[in-house]
């Protein structure tokens, strides 16, 4: 059973999430590598057969990828613990400051009850923790039908939309 949600649908996943040190040998195929591997083996990774994505750990600065984002089809942000909220800021920076347009995937301790806020911060793919009921988790995107703040999904905060609606009435 697939545990990947992409664009709010369950889907099969072709990507392998690789862990290891900067010198780790990267196999062929679609592989998500740690930032250190990417920085250390950029040329070799490009010459390989298959696509390459990069995974940022919570403490890693998305600025490190600023020059690469145009050619990366996928960036993952890891959540070693669901309570570690740094990845929410990482995602917004990737989308809003560095204008990343590819797949932004949450990996690790990714649970149903964080999905909506992750999506609001710019994630469009979610590799759920193994024990999660992915089918049931889809409902979480509808937990709230409106939001006060702007986000990646809706950049205009509610107060501006309220005013626009009020003035058009």
């Amino acid at each position: 059973m697939p545990k990947l949600i992409r664009n709010r649908e369950l889907t099969a996943d072709s990507w392998l999430l690789l862990e290891g040190d900067p010198a780790t040998a990267v196999p062929a195929g679609d592989v998500i590598v740690p930032l250190a591997v990417w920085l250390g083996q950029r040329a070799a990774l490009a010459a390989r057969d298959g696509r390459t994505g990069v995974c940022l750990a919570p403490h890693e600065d998305p600025a490190a990828l600023a020059g690469d984002l145009d050619r990366l089809p996928l960036v993952a942000v890891s959540f070693p613990k669901f309570t570690d909220g740094r990845g929410f800021s990482t995602a917004r920076l990737l989308r809003e400051r560095y204008r990343f347009k590819g797949e932004l995937r949450a990996v690790g301790d990714v649970l149903r009850d964080q999905l909506l806020f992750l999506a609001r911060c710019g994630f469009d793919a979610f590799a759920l923790r193994d024990d999660q009921d992915a089918e049931a988790a889809l409902a979480a995107f509808a937990d709230f039908t409106e939001a006060y703040q702007g986000g990646v999904d809706q950049p205009v905060p509610l107060f501006r939309r309220r005013l626009a609606a009020g003035s058009s009435r």
Partner: protein, 582 residues
């Protein structure tokens, strides 16, 4: 009151549904304790020593009578008939059942209430001056700004899993009645030119902005906040908060719960370096879509109910007559009645600090009675103060006499606001699983010692705060006298500090943290120790105008320390001599 529109209501209703489903999954074993913990805390639900505790949000302390009646109903139906008003202007119920909480939240939603983000590692209830909107020394009505920040903070997707809890206080007046210097962020309304806002100024005045303090806090590492910006034009408020929170969310420590508050980040980096990081972050967010516009301030302001004031004489003759003829009434007026910006009106504090009642507690029957009084005397609204009292903010002077006579039999007219018996205390070891020691019996013993009202009046203004553990929920660090419960080999002891101050509640002593005087005392010794400190103060003060805190700031803690322990030493030496002679 801020009246919800359809969207505000929908969000609260959807929250109830979400939590109902989360509770169902937890009870069905589909959510682990730890996963549910993070979810229940952000809905105010704690699992405590004896039973769960539900902390209900009272945004910026403002409450309608319909809401208060609902709280009374919940206390009666789901709890043991009373509630506890906390130092962050919230209400805590101590015995609800986990499975009942979704129904309780659904009931709250029917009166535009909730328990959203009253706990957990997110932005908590925004707190403010309990006289906001009526204070004579007001620069802006802080309630409007609190609501704007409440909306920004509610379900903020980026800042819902912060390193630790995050508390913001906003003060709109010249005096600081919101303890802003000991919050993660404190905001002071200021005018660019330092002058007052004139009645003819446009609303919102373009000259108004905020002084931004960051990194204050109590707890184990008490720190007075740092000013990182002297003047932030109001339109930038939300983007600047975004910048601070983003820096904190990314770099605040997550390796040690005791070092995870923003104050530690600010301290470790240094306020200047932290300021630079915020400015750098803000340079990207400034003038973005979250930049506030005058129409939004007007919209929020217009959704607040406003009292229909009568045109009244500035001084009511009947009120003046009674004040000069009735000593008890005069005492209550002196302590519990406060100035109001509208002629002929006053704000009144209902003291929840009657001796023998846990500070901040009110029964369901009292809540209903208070709601009835608020409907009759103060336009159907009231406030909760961070000193754990209730405020009727809009009472006509001519009604003060009748209100006072109705409050007395309810036990709500104790004339002790600002005095030593107006104790701030956490629930302590009687309720809280974190506490080292009990707070409530200590508060009661001190109140009994100082109950002779004339004696209290001689002592003058004195904040005495008690916390049952170093988490400092009772704000002991900013009490003029602070008492901290400590555990000594399984026994409850109490450390005493002096010189703390919550802020410039009136011009003079600035916000300060207390200094511990020396070895701790057993529970039975505490009232004597406090009395020794008070007697020392009475001997040192220049006049009745010089408060305890003013004397401590003038002469330092040494004379108090000497007085406190010298006497104890003499007693113990005398005791030793007696033993030796026997």
């Amino acid at each position: 009151m801020y009246r919800y529109d359809d969207i505000d209501q929908r969000l609260v209703d959807e929250r109830v549904q979400q939590f109902r489903d989360q509770t169902r999954r937890f009870l069905a074993g589909q959510l682990s304790d730890e996963e549910f913990k993070s979810l229940r805390l952000r809905n105010g639900l704690y699992l405590q020593r004896h039973a769960p505790m539900l902390r209900i949000a009272i945004p910026y302390g403002l409450l309608s009578t319909a809401q208060l009646r609902k709280l009374a109903h919940l206390a009666r139906t789901y709890d043991r008939g009373y509630g506890h008003f906390s130092t962050r202007q919230n209400l805590q119920l101590n015995w609800p059942k986990v499975e009942d909480v979704p129904d309780m939240l659904a009931e709250l939603a029917t009166v535009q209430m909730h328990a959203i983000q009253t706990s957990g590692n997110a932005v908590r209830n925004i707190t403010t001056d309990h006289f906001a909107g009526v204070a004579a020394d007001e620069i802006v009505d802080a309630l409007v700004w609190c609501e704007i920040v409440r909306q920004w903070s509610t379900f903020n997707p980026e800042f819902s899993y912060l390193p630790r809890k995050f508390k913001i206080a906003i003060n709109g007046a010249a005096a600081d009645r919101a303890a802003t210097w000991v919050h993660d962020i404190g905001l002071h309304a200021v005018r660019a030119d330092g002058g007052p806002v004139e009645p003819g100024d446009p609303f919102p005045s373009p000259a108004v902005g905020f002084r931004v303090l960051v990194g204050g806090g109590l707890g184990r590492t008490p720190i007075i906040g740092h000013v990182i910006r002297e003047f932030l034009p109001w339109r930038h408020l939300l983007t600047y908060l975004d910048a601070i929170l983003r820096v904190y969310n990314r770099y605040g420590r997550r390796d040690n719960i005791h070092k995870a508050r923003i104050k530690i980040l600010v301290k470790e980096r240094g306020p200047e370096a932290f300021d630079r990081e915020v400015e750098e972050e803000w340079s990207h967010l400034r003038d973005g879509p979250a930049t506030l516009v005058p129409e939004e301030i007007e919209r929020v302001a217009s959704r607040f109910t406003r009292p229909a004031y009568e045109r009244l004489p500035a001084v009511d003759p009947g009120f003046e007559r009674l004040r000069s003829s009735d000593k008890a009434f005069a005492a209550w007026v002196k302590r519990n009645v406060h100035p109001h910006k509208v002629p002929g009106y006053a704000a009144v504090t209902l003291s929840l600090k009657k001796t023998g009642v846990p500070p901040g507690d009110a029964t369901a029957d009292q809540m209903d009675a208070i709601a009835d009084l608020a409907d009759r005397y103060t336009f159907g609204e009231l406030r909760v103060s961070h000193e754990q009292n209730l405020i009727f903010a809009e009472v006509a002077q001519r009604d003060l006499d009748r209100l006072w006579r109705e409050l007395r039999p309810l036990g709500l007219a104790t004339p002790n606001i600002g005095l030593i018996t107006n104790i701030i205390a956490c629930p302590g070891g009687d309720f809280c699983s974190l506490a080292n020691a009990r707070s409530i019996p200590v508060a009661e013993a001190i109140q009994r010692r100082f109950d002779d009202l004339d004696h209290v009046f001689d002592v003058g203004e004195l904040d005495l705060n008690i916390s049952g553990c170093m988490n400092a929920c009772g704000h002991h660090h900013v009490g003029h006298i602070g008492i901290l419960g400590v555990d000594k080999a399984g026994e409850e002891f109490y450390q005493i500090e002096i010189g703390g101050n919550q802020g410039e509640t009136r011009p003079g002593a600035k916000a300060a943290l207390g200094k511990v005087l020396g070895p701790s005392f057993s529970q039975g010794e505490v009232p004597d120790a406090i009395e020794r400190l008070v007697r020392c103060y009475l001997g040192l003060r220049d006049s009745e105008e010089e408060r305890f805190i003013d004397v401590v700031q003038r002469v330092g803690v040494e004379p108090f320390k000497a007085h406190l322990y010298a006497k104890a030493d003499q007693e113990s030496r005398a005791h030793s001599r007696q033993l030796a002679a026997a």
